[in-house]
Protein backbone atom coordinates (compact mmCIF):
# COMPACT_ATOMS: atom_id res chain seq x y z
CA UNK A 1 0.00 0.00 0.00
CA UNK A 2 1.13 3.55 -0.73
CA UNK A 3 1.46 6.50 1.64
CA UNK A 4 -1.95 7.97 0.68
CA UNK A 5 -3.68 4.69 1.53
CA UNK A 6 -1.94 4.61 4.92
CA UNK A 7 -2.99 8.24 5.56
CA UNK A 8 -6.63 7.44 4.73
CA UNK A 9 -6.66 4.52 7.16
CA UNK A 10 -4.76 6.56 9.75
CA UNK A 11 -7.43 9.28 9.45
CA UNK A 12 -10.07 6.69 10.38
CA UNK A 13 -7.99 5.52 13.35
CA UNK A 14 -7.52 9.12 14.58
CA UNK A 15 -11.26 9.95 14.28
CA UNK A 16 -12.25 6.74 16.09
CA UNK A 17 -9.61 7.39 18.77
CA UNK A 18 -10.77 10.98 19.32
CA UNK A 19 -14.40 9.88 19.68
CA UNK A 20 -13.50 7.17 22.22
CA UNK A 21 -11.04 9.31 24.22
CA UNK A 22 -13.41 12.33 24.22
CA UNK A 23 -16.26 10.21 25.55
CA UNK A 24 -14.14 8.39 28.16
CA UNK A 25 -12.55 11.67 29.32
CA UNK A 26 -15.94 13.21 30.03
CA UNK A 27 -17.78 10.19 31.35
CA UNK A 28 -15.07 8.28 33.20
CA UNK A 29 -12.04 10.39 34.04
CA UNK A 30 -13.53 13.80 34.82
CA UNK A 31 -17.09 12.73 35.56
CA UNK A 32 -18.94 15.38 37.60
Amino acid sequence: MDILSILIILMGVVVTGILIIGFLRERVFIKK
Partner: protein, 470 residues
Protein backbone atom coordinates in the same frame (compact mmCIF):
# COMPACT_ATOMS: atom_id res chain seq x y z
CA UNK B 1 -23.79 -17.34 8.42
CA UNK B 2 -23.57 -18.73 11.97
CA UNK B 3 -20.82 -16.61 13.54
CA UNK B 4 -21.89 -13.21 12.07
CA UNK B 5 -25.48 -13.84 13.19
CA UNK B 6 -24.32 -14.69 16.73
CA UNK B 7 -22.21 -11.51 16.86
CA UNK B 8 -25.14 -9.39 15.63
CA UNK B 9 -27.39 -11.16 18.17
CA UNK B 10 -24.96 -10.17 20.96
CA UNK B 11 -24.90 -6.61 19.58
CA UNK B 12 -28.72 -6.37 19.64
CA UNK B 13 -28.79 -7.76 23.20
CA UNK B 14 -26.18 -5.18 24.33
CA UNK B 15 -28.05 -2.17 22.91
CA UNK B 16 -31.33 -3.47 24.33
CA UNK B 17 -29.63 -3.82 27.73
CA UNK B 18 -28.28 -0.24 27.53
CA UNK B 19 -31.80 0.97 26.69
CA UNK B 20 -33.18 -1.04 29.63
CA UNK B 21 -30.74 0.57 32.07
CA UNK B 22 -31.97 4.00 30.98
CA UNK B 23 -35.69 3.18 31.39
CA UNK B 24 -36.16 5.14 34.63
CA UNK B 25 -33.78 8.03 33.99
CA UNK B 26 -36.39 10.38 32.51
CA UNK B 27 -38.77 12.13 34.87
CA UNK B 28 -40.06 14.92 32.61
CA UNK B 29 -40.76 15.81 29.01
CA UNK B 30 -37.41 17.63 28.83
CA UNK B 31 -35.61 14.53 30.09
CA UNK B 32 -37.33 12.22 27.64
CA UNK B 33 -37.03 14.29 24.46
CA UNK B 34 -33.95 16.48 25.05
CA UNK B 35 -31.98 14.44 27.60
CA UNK B 36 -32.56 16.88 30.46
CA UNK B 37 -30.42 19.44 28.55
CA UNK B 38 -27.33 17.82 30.06
CA UNK B 39 -25.15 16.62 27.16
CA UNK B 40 -21.43 17.32 27.39
CA UNK B 41 -19.24 18.21 24.38
CA UNK B 42 -17.82 14.88 23.23
CA UNK B 43 -20.89 12.94 24.25
CA UNK B 44 -22.88 15.27 21.99
CA UNK B 45 -20.29 15.04 19.18
CA UNK B 46 -20.64 11.24 19.20
CA UNK B 47 -24.42 11.26 19.22
CA UNK B 48 -24.68 14.02 16.59
CA UNK B 49 -22.28 12.22 14.24
CA UNK B 50 -24.10 8.91 14.66
CA UNK B 51 -27.41 10.61 13.87
CA UNK B 52 -26.10 12.54 10.85
CA UNK B 53 -24.58 9.39 9.37
CA UNK B 54 -27.41 7.34 7.88
CA UNK B 55 -28.00 4.63 5.32
CA UNK B 56 -28.28 7.15 2.45
CA UNK B 57 -25.01 8.85 3.35
CA UNK B 58 -23.22 5.50 3.71
CA UNK B 59 -24.69 2.79 1.45
CA UNK B 60 -26.18 5.34 -0.97
CA UNK B 61 -23.08 7.54 -1.37
CA UNK B 62 -20.74 4.51 -1.60
CA UNK B 63 -23.02 3.25 -4.39
CA UNK B 64 -22.87 6.62 -6.16
CA UNK B 65 -19.07 6.68 -5.87
CA UNK B 66 -19.06 3.14 -7.28
CA UNK B 67 -21.07 4.34 -10.30
CA UNK B 68 -19.85 7.93 -10.86
CA UNK B 69 -16.71 8.58 -8.78
CA UNK B 70 -15.85 11.17 -6.12
CA UNK B 71 -18.43 13.75 -7.27
CA UNK B 72 -20.85 11.71 -5.08
CA UNK B 73 -19.15 13.40 -2.12
CA UNK B 74 -20.90 16.72 -2.83
CA UNK B 75 -24.05 15.38 -1.16
CA UNK B 76 -22.15 14.94 2.10
CA UNK B 77 -20.40 18.29 1.65
CA UNK B 78 -23.84 19.91 1.22
CA UNK B 79 -25.19 18.30 4.39
CA UNK B 80 -22.03 19.27 6.26
CA UNK B 81 -22.49 22.92 5.20
CA UNK B 82 -26.15 22.75 6.32
CA UNK B 83 -25.09 21.39 9.74
CA UNK B 84 -22.37 24.06 10.02
CA UNK B 85 -25.00 26.74 9.33
CA UNK B 86 -26.98 25.40 12.32
CA UNK B 87 -23.85 25.80 14.46
CA UNK B 88 -22.74 29.20 13.16
CA UNK B 89 -26.07 30.94 12.63
CA UNK B 90 -28.66 29.66 15.07
CA UNK B 91 -27.34 27.10 17.61
CA UNK B 92 -26.72 29.59 20.43
CA UNK B 93 -29.90 31.59 19.92
CA UNK B 94 -31.97 28.45 19.48
CA UNK B 95 -30.55 26.98 22.69
CA UNK B 96 -31.73 30.04 24.67
CA UNK B 97 -35.33 29.39 23.60
CA UNK B 98 -35.54 26.24 25.80
CA UNK B 99 -37.54 24.53 23.08
CA UNK B 100 -38.15 20.85 22.39
CA UNK B 101 -39.41 20.86 18.78
CA UNK B 102 -39.06 23.00 15.65
CA UNK B 103 -42.72 24.17 15.87
CA UNK B 104 -41.90 25.37 19.43
CA UNK B 105 -39.24 27.63 17.91
CA UNK B 106 -41.66 28.83 15.21
CA UNK B 107 -44.39 29.66 17.74
CA UNK B 108 -41.96 31.77 19.80
CA UNK B 109 -42.00 34.37 17.02
CA UNK B 110 -44.85 33.64 14.62
CA UNK B 111 -47.65 32.44 16.92
CA UNK B 112 -49.91 29.40 17.21
CA UNK B 113 -51.46 29.54 13.72
CA UNK B 114 -48.08 29.15 11.98
CA UNK B 115 -47.01 26.57 14.55
CA UNK B 116 -50.01 24.35 13.80
CA UNK B 117 -49.56 24.36 10.06
CA UNK B 118 -45.79 23.85 10.28
CA UNK B 119 -46.22 20.99 12.77
CA UNK B 120 -48.44 19.13 10.28
CA UNK B 121 -45.66 19.36 7.67
CA UNK B 122 -43.00 18.38 10.19
CA UNK B 123 -44.98 15.36 11.39
CA UNK B 124 -45.77 13.97 7.93
CA UNK B 125 -42.14 14.54 6.89
CA UNK B 126 -40.69 12.79 9.94
CA UNK B 127 -43.12 9.85 10.01
CA UNK B 128 -42.23 9.38 6.32
CA UNK B 129 -38.49 9.49 7.04
CA UNK B 130 -38.96 7.11 10.00
CA UNK B 131 -40.84 4.64 7.78
CA UNK B 132 -38.14 4.91 5.09
CA UNK B 133 -35.39 4.26 7.68
CA UNK B 134 -37.26 1.23 9.07
CA UNK B 135 -37.74 -0.01 5.51
CA UNK B 136 -34.00 0.23 4.80
CA UNK B 137 -33.33 -1.59 8.09
CA UNK B 138 -35.50 -4.49 6.88
CA UNK B 139 -33.81 -4.55 3.46
CA UNK B 140 -30.37 -4.49 5.11
CA UNK B 141 -31.25 -7.31 7.56
CA UNK B 142 -32.64 -9.36 4.67
CA UNK B 143 -29.52 -8.92 2.49
CA UNK B 144 -27.02 -9.46 5.33
CA UNK B 145 -28.54 -12.47 7.09
CA UNK B 146 -30.50 -14.15 4.33
CA UNK B 147 -33.71 -14.10 6.40
CA UNK B 148 -37.06 -12.82 5.14
CA UNK B 149 -37.62 -9.07 4.87
CA UNK B 150 -40.51 -9.22 7.36
CA UNK B 151 -38.51 -11.19 9.97
CA UNK B 152 -35.47 -8.90 9.57
CA UNK B 153 -37.58 -5.77 9.90
CA UNK B 154 -39.55 -7.02 12.90
CA UNK B 155 -36.45 -8.18 14.83
CA UNK B 156 -34.18 -5.17 14.22
CA UNK B 157 -37.01 -2.61 14.11
CA UNK B 158 -38.60 -4.13 17.21
CA UNK B 159 -35.36 -3.89 19.24
CA UNK B 160 -34.81 -0.32 18.05
CA UNK B 161 -38.31 0.88 18.93
CA UNK B 162 -38.25 -0.90 22.29
CA UNK B 163 -35.14 0.90 23.53
CA UNK B 164 -36.30 4.23 22.11
CA UNK B 165 -39.65 3.97 23.90
CA UNK B 166 -38.03 2.81 27.17
CA UNK B 167 -35.36 5.45 27.54
CA UNK B 168 -36.04 8.36 25.16
CA UNK B 169 -33.06 10.53 24.26
CA UNK B 170 -31.04 9.34 27.29
CA UNK B 171 -31.12 5.78 25.91
CA UNK B 172 -30.66 6.52 22.22
CA UNK B 173 -27.80 8.98 22.82
CA UNK B 174 -25.82 6.51 24.95
CA UNK B 175 -26.47 3.78 22.36
CA UNK B 176 -25.46 6.32 19.66
CA UNK B 177 -22.03 6.65 21.32
CA UNK B 178 -21.57 2.87 21.28
CA UNK B 179 -22.85 2.70 17.69
CA UNK B 180 -20.71 5.64 16.50
CA UNK B 181 -17.57 3.86 17.70
CA UNK B 182 -18.63 0.72 15.80
CA UNK B 183 -19.45 2.83 12.71
CA UNK B 184 -16.20 4.80 12.65
CA UNK B 185 -14.01 1.76 13.30
CA UNK B 186 -15.94 -0.37 10.80
CA UNK B 187 -16.49 2.11 7.97
CA UNK B 188 -13.46 4.40 8.45
CA UNK B 189 -10.79 1.85 9.39
CA UNK B 190 -11.65 -1.77 8.52
CA UNK B 191 -13.47 -1.32 5.18
CA UNK B 192 -10.96 1.17 3.62
CA UNK B 193 -8.12 -1.08 4.83
CA UNK B 194 -9.69 -4.21 3.33
CA UNK B 195 -10.59 -2.46 0.05
CA UNK B 196 -7.28 -0.63 -0.45
CA UNK B 197 -5.27 -3.73 0.49
CA UNK B 198 -7.14 -5.77 -2.12
CA UNK B 199 -6.77 -3.08 -4.81
CA UNK B 200 -3.11 -2.43 -3.93
CA UNK B 201 -3.37 1.22 -2.82
CA UNK B 202 -4.67 4.57 -4.04
CA UNK B 203 -2.21 4.67 -6.96
CA UNK B 204 -3.58 1.39 -8.33
CA UNK B 205 -7.09 2.70 -7.78
CA UNK B 206 -6.35 5.78 -9.90
CA UNK B 207 -4.83 3.69 -12.67
CA UNK B 208 -7.70 1.20 -12.76
CA UNK B 209 -10.57 3.70 -12.98
CA UNK B 210 -11.33 6.38 -15.63
CA UNK B 211 -9.86 9.83 -14.87
CA UNK B 212 -13.37 11.28 -14.73
CA UNK B 213 -14.01 9.26 -11.55
CA UNK B 214 -11.51 11.51 -9.75
CA UNK B 215 -12.84 14.80 -11.08
CA UNK B 216 -15.06 16.38 -8.39
CA UNK B 217 -16.51 18.74 -10.99
CA UNK B 218 -17.61 15.97 -13.36
CA UNK B 219 -21.24 16.88 -12.59
CA UNK B 220 -20.61 20.45 -13.87
CA UNK B 221 -21.00 23.74 -12.01
CA UNK B 222 -24.75 23.92 -12.73
CA UNK B 223 -25.24 20.37 -11.46
CA UNK B 224 -23.24 21.22 -8.32
CA UNK B 225 -25.24 24.38 -7.57
CA UNK B 226 -28.44 22.40 -8.19
CA UNK B 227 -27.44 19.78 -5.60
CA UNK B 228 -26.18 22.24 -2.97
CA UNK B 229 -29.28 24.46 -3.30
CA UNK B 230 -31.54 21.77 -1.86
CA UNK B 231 -29.11 19.67 0.20
CA UNK B 232 -27.85 22.61 2.33
CA UNK B 233 -31.37 23.73 3.43
CA UNK B 234 -32.31 20.10 4.07
CA UNK B 235 -29.25 19.66 6.33
CA UNK B 236 -30.03 22.96 8.05
CA UNK B 237 -33.58 21.76 8.86
CA UNK B 238 -32.51 18.38 10.31
CA UNK B 239 -34.63 18.38 13.44
CA UNK B 240 -32.83 15.26 14.66
CA UNK B 241 -29.74 17.48 15.06
CA UNK B 242 -31.77 20.37 16.50
CA UNK B 243 -32.80 18.18 19.44
CA UNK B 244 -29.07 17.64 20.18
CA UNK B 245 -28.63 21.41 20.21
CA UNK B 246 -31.51 21.67 22.70
CA UNK B 247 -30.01 18.75 24.66
CA UNK B 248 -26.61 20.42 25.18
CA UNK B 249 -25.47 21.45 28.63
CA UNK B 250 -24.87 25.03 27.56
CA UNK B 251 -24.96 27.15 24.39
CA UNK B 252 -21.21 26.91 23.80
CA UNK B 253 -21.41 23.10 23.76
CA UNK B 254 -24.45 23.33 21.45
CA UNK B 255 -22.41 25.29 18.90
CA UNK B 256 -19.06 23.51 19.23
CA UNK B 257 -20.46 19.97 19.17
CA UNK B 258 -22.46 20.68 16.00
CA UNK B 259 -19.40 22.20 14.35
CA UNK B 260 -16.98 19.42 15.37
CA UNK B 261 -19.32 16.60 14.31
CA UNK B 262 -20.16 18.20 10.96
CA UNK B 263 -16.60 19.16 9.97
CA UNK B 264 -14.13 16.91 11.76
CA UNK B 265 -16.20 13.69 11.82
CA UNK B 266 -18.61 13.97 8.90
CA UNK B 267 -16.12 15.09 6.22
CA UNK B 268 -13.44 12.46 7.02
CA UNK B 269 -16.30 9.92 6.99
CA UNK B 270 -17.13 11.12 3.47
CA UNK B 271 -13.55 10.41 2.32
CA UNK B 272 -13.75 6.85 3.69
CA UNK B 273 -17.13 6.15 2.07
CA UNK B 274 -15.86 7.44 -1.30
CA UNK B 275 -12.74 5.26 -1.06
CA UNK B 276 -14.91 2.20 -0.29
CA UNK B 277 -17.14 2.93 -3.31
CA UNK B 278 -14.14 3.41 -5.62
CA UNK B 279 -12.48 0.20 -4.39
CA UNK B 280 -15.78 -1.58 -5.05
CA UNK B 281 -15.80 -0.23 -8.62
CA UNK B 282 -12.40 -1.87 -9.23
CA UNK B 283 -13.05 -5.12 -7.37
CA UNK B 284 -16.69 -5.88 -8.16
CA UNK B 285 -17.70 -4.47 -11.55
CA UNK B 286 -21.27 -5.17 -12.62
CA UNK B 287 -22.95 -5.53 -9.21
CA UNK B 288 -25.86 -3.39 -7.96
CA UNK B 289 -24.31 -0.06 -6.85
CA UNK B 290 -26.17 0.09 -3.52
CA UNK B 291 -24.88 -3.35 -2.51
CA UNK B 292 -21.19 -2.45 -2.81
CA UNK B 293 -20.58 -2.31 0.97
CA UNK B 294 -22.46 -5.55 1.86
CA UNK B 295 -20.71 -7.22 -1.11
CA UNK B 296 -17.29 -6.05 0.08
CA UNK B 297 -17.99 -7.33 3.59
CA UNK B 298 -19.16 -10.78 2.54
CA UNK B 299 -16.44 -11.23 -0.13
CA UNK B 300 -13.32 -9.93 1.61
CA UNK B 301 -13.63 -10.53 5.36
CA UNK B 302 -13.74 -13.53 7.71
CA UNK B 303 -16.93 -14.40 9.64
CA UNK B 304 -15.84 -12.63 12.86
CA UNK B 305 -15.09 -9.36 11.04
CA UNK B 306 -18.30 -9.83 9.05
CA UNK B 307 -20.31 -9.97 12.27
CA UNK B 308 -18.67 -6.77 13.52
CA UNK B 309 -19.24 -4.94 10.21
CA UNK B 310 -22.87 -6.11 9.99
CA UNK B 311 -23.41 -4.65 13.45
CA UNK B 312 -21.74 -1.41 12.26
CA UNK B 313 -24.08 -1.23 9.25
CA UNK B 314 -27.14 -1.84 11.42
CA UNK B 315 -25.82 0.93 13.68
CA UNK B 316 -25.65 3.31 10.72
CA UNK B 317 -29.39 2.88 10.10
CA UNK B 318 -30.58 2.48 13.70
CA UNK B 319 -28.79 5.56 15.08
CA UNK B 320 -30.58 7.76 12.54
CA UNK B 321 -33.93 5.96 12.67
CA UNK B 322 -34.26 6.20 16.47
CA UNK B 323 -33.71 9.97 16.41
CA UNK B 324 -36.21 10.43 13.61
CA UNK B 325 -38.82 8.36 15.51
CA UNK B 326 -38.16 10.40 18.66
CA UNK B 327 -38.56 13.67 16.73
CA UNK B 328 -41.88 12.53 15.23
CA UNK B 329 -42.98 11.35 18.69
CA UNK B 330 -42.07 14.71 20.24
CA UNK B 331 -44.10 16.50 17.57
CA UNK B 332 -47.07 14.23 18.24
CA UNK B 333 -46.95 14.82 22.00
CA UNK B 334 -45.85 18.46 22.16
CA UNK B 335 -47.59 19.85 19.10
CA UNK B 336 -50.80 17.82 19.22
CA UNK B 337 -51.56 16.32 22.64
CA UNK B 338 -50.22 19.06 24.90
CA UNK B 339 -51.40 21.81 22.57
CA UNK B 340 -54.97 20.48 22.77
CA UNK B 341 -54.97 19.55 26.45
CA UNK B 342 -52.70 22.33 27.73
CA UNK B 343 -49.39 21.51 29.41
CA UNK B 344 -50.43 23.36 32.61
CA UNK B 345 -53.25 20.88 33.18
CA UNK B 346 -51.05 17.81 32.63
CA UNK B 347 -48.85 16.23 35.32
CA UNK B 348 -45.23 15.29 34.61
CA UNK B 349 -46.12 11.64 35.14
CA UNK B 350 -48.88 11.84 32.53
CA UNK B 351 -46.63 13.77 30.10
CA UNK B 352 -43.95 11.09 30.40
CA UNK B 353 -46.46 8.29 29.89
CA UNK B 354 -48.01 10.04 26.87
CA UNK B 355 -44.50 10.69 25.45
CA UNK B 356 -43.68 6.96 25.56
CA UNK B 357 -47.04 6.10 24.00
CA UNK B 358 -46.46 8.77 21.30
CA UNK B 359 -43.05 7.35 20.38
CA UNK B 360 -44.50 3.82 20.39
CA UNK B 361 -47.33 4.91 18.05
CA UNK B 362 -44.85 6.51 15.62
CA UNK B 363 -42.66 3.39 15.75
CA UNK B 364 -45.60 1.07 15.05
CA UNK B 365 -46.84 3.30 12.19
CA UNK B 366 -43.30 3.31 10.72
CA UNK B 367 -43.12 -0.51 10.89
CA UNK B 368 -46.61 -0.95 9.41
CA UNK B 369 -45.85 1.48 6.57
CA UNK B 370 -42.54 -0.26 5.86
CA UNK B 371 -44.23 -3.67 5.85
CA UNK B 372 -47.25 -2.89 3.77
CA UNK B 373 -47.13 0.38 1.91
CA UNK B 374 -43.84 1.27 0.22
CA UNK B 375 -45.76 3.50 -2.19
CA UNK B 376 -47.08 5.62 0.69
CA UNK B 377 -43.53 6.06 2.04
CA UNK B 378 -42.26 7.48 -1.23
CA UNK B 379 -45.39 9.65 -1.33
CA UNK B 380 -44.66 10.97 2.15
CA UNK B 381 -41.07 11.72 1.19
CA UNK B 382 -42.46 14.24 -1.31
CA UNK B 383 -43.31 16.30 1.77
CA UNK B 384 -39.62 17.35 1.74
CA UNK B 385 -40.58 19.85 -0.98
CA UNK B 386 -43.10 21.89 1.07
CA UNK B 387 -41.18 21.23 4.32
CA UNK B 388 -37.78 22.53 3.18
CA UNK B 389 -39.20 25.15 0.80
CA UNK B 390 -41.28 26.88 3.48
CA UNK B 391 -39.33 26.30 6.68
CA UNK B 392 -35.89 27.40 5.44
CA UNK B 393 -36.93 31.03 4.76
CA UNK B 394 -39.22 31.01 7.81
CA UNK B 395 -36.44 29.90 10.22
CA UNK B 396 -33.91 32.34 8.73
CA UNK B 397 -36.44 35.21 8.91
CA UNK B 398 -37.37 34.18 12.45
CA UNK B 399 -33.84 34.71 13.69
CA UNK B 400 -32.47 37.39 11.39
CA UNK B 401 -35.24 39.61 10.00
CA UNK B 402 -37.04 41.94 12.35
CA UNK B 403 -39.64 42.89 9.76
CA UNK B 404 -40.80 39.30 9.29
CA UNK B 405 -44.42 38.90 10.37
CA UNK B 406 -46.66 36.03 11.40
CA UNK B 407 -48.82 36.67 8.32
CA UNK B 408 -45.70 36.44 6.11
CA UNK B 409 -44.74 33.12 7.68
CA UNK B 410 -48.27 31.71 7.42
CA UNK B 411 -48.58 32.82 3.77
CA UNK B 412 -45.22 31.16 3.06
CA UNK B 413 -46.53 27.85 4.38
CA UNK B 414 -49.73 28.12 2.32
CA UNK B 415 -47.81 29.01 -0.87
CA UNK B 416 -45.36 26.18 -0.21
CA UNK B 417 -48.15 23.61 0.10
CA UNK B 418 -49.93 24.89 -3.04
CA UNK B 419 -46.72 24.98 -5.12
CA UNK B 420 -45.68 21.50 -3.95
CA UNK B 421 -49.12 20.06 -4.70
CA UNK B 422 -49.05 21.66 -8.15
CA UNK B 423 -45.58 20.24 -8.90
CA UNK B 424 -46.63 16.82 -7.60
CA UNK B 425 -49.97 16.63 -9.43
CA UNK B 426 -49.29 18.55 -12.68
CA UNK B 427 -45.67 17.33 -12.94
CA UNK B 428 -44.56 20.36 -15.03
CA UNK B 429 -41.24 20.52 -16.94
CA UNK B 430 -38.67 21.89 -14.44
CA UNK B 431 -35.64 21.86 -16.79
CA UNK B 432 -33.59 19.72 -14.41
CA UNK B 433 -34.11 22.03 -11.42
CA UNK B 434 -35.01 20.23 -8.19
CA UNK B 435 -38.62 20.98 -7.04
CA UNK B 436 -37.30 22.06 -3.62
CA UNK B 437 -35.20 24.83 -5.25
CA UNK B 438 -38.21 26.22 -7.17
CA UNK B 439 -40.33 26.10 -4.03
CA UNK B 440 -37.56 27.74 -1.99
CA UNK B 441 -37.39 30.70 -4.36
CA UNK B 442 -41.19 31.19 -4.43
CA UNK B 443 -41.47 30.82 -0.64
CA UNK B 444 -38.68 33.33 -0.02
CA UNK B 445 -40.41 35.86 -2.27
CA UNK B 446 -43.71 35.21 -0.45
CA UNK B 447 -42.08 35.65 2.95
CA UNK B 448 -40.51 38.97 1.94
CA UNK B 449 -43.54 40.40 0.13
CA UNK B 450 -46.19 39.44 2.71
CA UNK B 451 -44.01 40.50 5.62
CA UNK B 452 -43.33 43.92 4.08
CA UNK B 453 -47.04 44.34 3.27
CA UNK B 454 -48.18 43.50 6.80
CA UNK B 455 -45.28 44.84 8.87
CA UNK B 456 -46.56 48.37 9.42
CA UNK B 457 -50.08 47.26 10.23
CA UNK B 458 -49.05 44.63 12.72
CA UNK B 459 -45.40 45.00 13.79
CA UNK B 460 -43.83 42.14 15.69
CA UNK B 461 -42.15 43.58 18.74
CA UNK B 462 -40.63 42.35 21.93
CA UNK B 463 -41.05 38.67 21.11
CA UNK B 464 -39.27 35.90 22.92
CA UNK B 465 -36.80 35.47 20.04
CA UNK B 466 -35.94 39.19 20.14
CA UNK B 467 -35.28 38.91 23.83
CA UNK B 468 -32.77 36.10 23.50
CA UNK B 469 -30.41 38.46 21.69
CA UNK B 470 -27.82 37.52 19.12
Amino acid sequence: MGIPVIIVGIYLAVILFIGFTMRNKSSSLDDYFVGGRSFTLWYNVNTMAATAIGSGTTLGVAGMAYADGISAGWILVGYSIGFCLIAILIAKRMYRLNSVTMPDVIESRFGKRTRWLSSILVMIQYVGIAAAQVLSLGILAESLFGISFTAGLLITGGVMILYTVMGGLFAISLIDVFQMILISFGVMVILPFVGLKEVGGVNNLMEALPADFFNPMSIGIIGLIGILCWIIPQGFLSQELWIRVFASKNESIAKRSTLISSVFIYLPYMVSVLVIGLCGAVLFPGISADSVIPHMITSLTNPYVQGFLFAALLSVVMSTATSVILVAGSNLVKDVYLNIKGSERTSQREILFVSKIGVLIVGIIAILLALSAKGIISLMQNVATPYVGALFPIILALFFWKRATSTGAFATLIVSIIVSLFIFIANPELYGIHPIVINLVLCTITMVVFSLLTFKKKPVQNTHVDNVGS
